[in-house]
């Protein structure tokens, strides 16, 4: 924003007048009008931190929110969480069903809309088989909704085409945890922050994406300035403000840095030999079990000097951060999309866990490899319930006959009900939909027309007339609304009851605070209606209400290491979140996994302290993952790198945060962040229009010139529906996790 000298002087004059004028309390009186009559317990609607929220109700309306003092956030909220109420009453809420007729969405009754949906899905299954229909869900849907949809499709309709936006945000973290530990989800908890003495933050702008966790890290650092903070990020974000070391590197080369840190740790004899001798398997990239010496030999390619050549990080800095990591009494790592949204996302995840397994910084208070999640219920809703194309609930895999058989038995269904072949992963699914090979798609609580990478090709697919998309969505201005054939008015956040499970394995209950607006319905009701119209076997959907779904899911979990039988509805209503495993009603929940005496899955008299029970031999794996570059490295034609991400003021596709006047005004439109040196070389000044061009499309953004990006890198936030940066991003994906590489693609820029 440009400010002239005259404007500055005028405002200064106004500011100096402040001291002279009286009557301070008029706004206070206005604020007091909104004093709630009742507070209802809930969870924030935004990021994966999953802060507890109390919703203030007056006259049947949400008037304010405050932090839940009994949840992990101790009453604190970030700027988005503190400003949620206007979203509920946005004029852009979808309040009745619509059917697209002659290219235009026309109001319809629920019966008309759902009859059309059922007839399209039935026709598709009849003519093209069950794999021609799909569900595309969300890490923002309630746990019960995702569990229900997963069951309807996989057990009721015979289609394993169950996917959702969590594939785009955390699939590599799942792949990382499963390959390293044999089981998904972090082994530590947020409370580790309070006792960690070193924080290793890589590929995460915690400050803007998980503000309340960052606040907790910052408070730890403030309480004890000897606590070390290492931030590894090619952008010097607000997170780096509290860092002792900010490590800027050439995008995509972090694998080399992580291997180099392991090299230094071993050379300095800071590895915990007792730990890794007893609890770790060393494994080559092609799954050969080898010994520690082989690992040392593998790491010889990653001396700090060699890693410096690859990454641009000074060898001395690599040595410094490796020593900080290893010498601390308790190191906790945090990472997020910077590692996950990569074609080597699983490998990057493995390499962070390697450092913890090498040094023994695991299974102790304050020491944990912790993957942050982007959405409020990606963990509890999608990962845990197995609502992806290759998974079944509680970490089971579709491809394993014994897993299918056990689940069929638990569900009381005949053997063979669940199809043995995994469905299509997100990119393959949308490719198939764009080619009309998948004919009917049910999208719930997600905005794929905005969030898919290289989105132009999928927008063309959504425009086709020979496929069918039904969308359950609360907001009329969501990009996907432009393309759906039927639009269903979804109840939003506090208008329904159900569970969210955040990054730390914590399940919290969102209690219904107010009645849904207009004709809106919770997705639970919509999915049950759909299943009945599809004549799904009543044994698949034996539910009278959403609590029945939760109770069945508890039962299903009880024979697995996820076991949360003890998290009853009555307990959830009373308490503010409980961490699984939690096998009995008197169990307090589990903060540390894989440790005898702390993890209820390990017998109290087990011979060893640690037991990585996800692996047959009880040992976690240190993987030899070599450095490999990005799918689209910069070259002579496209010499720079584009990366995308968030700003603190907006969340995901902006359909919610753009409804809050303060947040909208804070960042009304997306911009391109350019380094000072690059801007100078190209004659770009702050506020200039800049043309961004990749091999997929060309767009124009206003420049923000700063030293946040390193030279050669540009950043664009992805929230803005009017400036869809995903038209430029790449849909190449990790072969293991199938998660696309949003974080790196080649680009060229010039002043417009």
């Amino acid at each position: 924003m440009k400010v002239t000298r005259r404007e500055v002087l005028k405002t200064a004059a106004a500011a100096s007048a402040l001291a002279a004028i009286g009557s301070p309390l008029t706004t206070v009186a206005k604020a007091a009008d909104n004093e709630p009559e009742q507070w209802v317990k809930s969870v924030c609607r935004f990021c994966g931190t999953g802060c507890g929220v109390m919703v203030g109700i007056k006259g049947g309306k949400v008037v304010t929110v405050k932090g839940d003092p009994n949840n992990h956030n101790s009453g604190f909220l970030c700027l988005k969480g503190a400003l949620m109420p206007p979203i509920v009453y946005s004029k852009d809420r979808v309040t009745k069903p619509y059917i697209r007729k002659n290219g235009k969405l026309e109001p319809a009754s629920w019966d008309e809309a759902m009859s059309l949906v059922a007839s399209k899905f039935k026709a598709s299954i009849r003519d093209h088989g069950p794999t021609s229909v799909a569900y595309y869900g969300s890490g923002q849907a309630l746990t019960e909704e995702s569990y229900l949809a997963n069951k309807i499709w996989k057990a009721g309709l015979g289609s394993n085409n169950v996917e959702g936006n969590p594939r785009l945000c955390m699939a590599s973290a799942v792949g990382g945890y499963v390959t390293t530990f044999g089981k998904d989800e972090p082994c530590g908890s947020y409370s580790d922050i309070d006792s960690a003495t070193c924080f290793f933050i890589i590929g995460s702008n915690m400050s803007e994406c998980h503000p309340i966790l960052f606040k907790r890290v910052a408070a730890r650092k403030q309480a004890d300035p000897t606590v070390k903070v290492i931030v590894v990020d090619p952008r010097k974000t607000n997170t780096a403000r509290i860092a002792d070391e900010h490590v800027s590197f050439k995008p995509g080369t972090d694998l080399a840095i992580l291997n180099s840190m392991a090299y230094v740790i071993i050379q300095e004899e800071l590895d915990n030999q007792r730990f890794h001798n007893k609890y770790v398997t060393f494994m080559t990239n092609d799954k050969q079990k080898v010994d520690f010496d082989a690992y040392m030999k593998f790491l010889e390619d990653y001396t700090p000097e060699k890693a410096e050549k690859i990454s641009g990080v000074p060898a001395d800095q690599i040595r410094r951060i490796a020593l900080m990591f290893a010498e601390a009494s308790a190191t906790t790592s945090f990472w997020c999309m910077g590692l996950n949204q990569r074609i080597r996302g699983v490998w990057a995840n493995n390499l962070v866990s390697n450092l913890h397994l090498l040094t023994g910084h695991i299974g102790k208070t304050g020491a944990s490899p912790f993957s942050l999640t982007g959405q409020p219920n990606a963990c509890g809703g999608v990962r845990d319930t197995g609502s992806l194309c290759h998974l079944l609930p509680a970490g089971r895999l579709i491809k394993k006959p014994e897993h299918r058989a056990k689940l069929e038995e638990q569900w009381g269904l005949k053997p063979g009900t669940i199809a043995p072949k995994p469905g299509l992963h997100t990119i393959a699914l949308w490719n198939a939909f764009s080619e009309a090979k998948v004919k009917a798609m049910f999208v719930v609580c997600s905005n794929p027309a905005h969030s898919l990478p290289n989105v132009n090709i999928y927008l063309e697919g959504m425009k086709r007339k020979d496929n069918f998309m039904v969308l359950s969505e609360p907001f009329m201005d969501a990009e996907t609304v432009k393309y759906c054939d039927v639009l269903l008015p979804a109840a939003f956040w506090c208008e329904k009851r159900g569970t969210y499970g955040c990054s730390e394995r914590r399940y919290s209950l969102l209690m219904k605070s107010v009645e849904p607006m207009g004709e809106c319905k919770p997705d639970y009701d919509i999915l049950m209606d759909f299943a009945k119209r599809m004549n799904v076997d009543p044994k698949v959907i034996p539910f009278k209400n959403i609590d029945d779904v939760w109770n069945e899911w508890r039962e299903v979990s009880s024979v697995t290491p996820y076991n949360f039988m003890g998290i009853t509805r009555a307990r959830m209503e009373k308490e503010s979140g409980i961490l699984w495993p939690c096998p009995t009603e008197d169990h307090p929940g589990t903060k540390i996994r894989y440790v005898r005496g702390k993890d209820p899955n390990i017998p109290k008299d087990y011979k060893n302290k640690y037991h990585f029970y996800g692996k047959k031999d009880g040992r976690a794996v240190i993987w030899f993952r070599p450095y490999k570059g990005a799918a689209e490295e910069p070259d002579a034609d496209y010499p720079m790198v584009l990366t995308t991400g968030r700003v603190i003021d907006h969340w995901h596709t902006g359909t919610m945060t753009m409804k809050v006047p303060e947040l909208r005004r804070s960042f009304p439109k997306a911009y391109v962040e350019v380094n000072v040196e690059d801007a100078k070389a190209k004659g770009i000044k702050n506020g200039d229009d800049v043309i961004l061009e990749t091999r997929r499309d060309t767009m124009t953004f206003q420049a923000r010139v700063s030293d946040v990006c390193r030279p050669g890198l540009v950043f664009v936030p992805w929230y803005d529906a009017n400036l869809l940066i995903n038209k430029l991003t790449l849909n190449a994906f990790d072969k293991g996790s199938k998660q696309p590489e949003y974080k790196i693609c080649a680009i060229r820029i010039k002043k417009a």
């Binding site: 924003m1 007091a32 607000n238 009304p668």
Partner: protein, 141 residues
């Protein structure tokens, strides 16, 4: 000892009186003529670095600044069209409470006072907007 207590009490009284005067001389939101940002953007900090540099820098170096709890979260929007009322002095009971209710209740219990944060925590001066990270990288530079 007794005189020390008397001096402390007097200083505390003077401090409280100063705070109250300070509070009482604040303006109502309606009486402030705030500039309209030309492109409708509202990055308060960018402008206030120039017009009220001390306040802006205090915020930047404060816990609220490090945690990016931006001006509008507590003060609302100058055009009065925000989701909370625009206030130079935010209403503690509706604004501060969103995050600090546990502390407010503790203070109320401990001192028996109405939870008006500003009496003890003068905004933009210390406590709320103070130097949070003297040894942080941002301070070193």
């Amino acid at each position: 000892m007794k005189s020390k207590i008397t001096i402390t009490k007097t200083l505390a009284g003077l401090g409280a009186a100063f705070c109250l005067c300070f509070f009482a001389t604040q303006v109502s939101a309606a009486s402030i003529k705030h500039l309209k940002a030309p492109d409708d953007a509202a990055d308060c900090y960018t402008c206030h670095q120039k017009v009220t540099p001390r306040v802006a820098q205090n915020w930047y170096e404060s816990k609220h600044g490090v945690a990016l709890m931006k001006c509008f979260v507590c003060h609302g929007q100058p055009d009065g069209k925000g989701s909370i009322p625009f206030a130079v002095v935010p209403d503690a009971k509706s604004v501060c409470r969103k995050c600090h209710e546990p502390a407010m209740l503790r203070m109320e219990k401990k001192f028996g006072i109405d939870p008006n944060c500003y009496v003890c925590h003068p905004f933009h001066q210390n406590s709320m907007h103070h130097d949070a990270y003297k040894k942080s990288i941002s301070k070193k530079e």
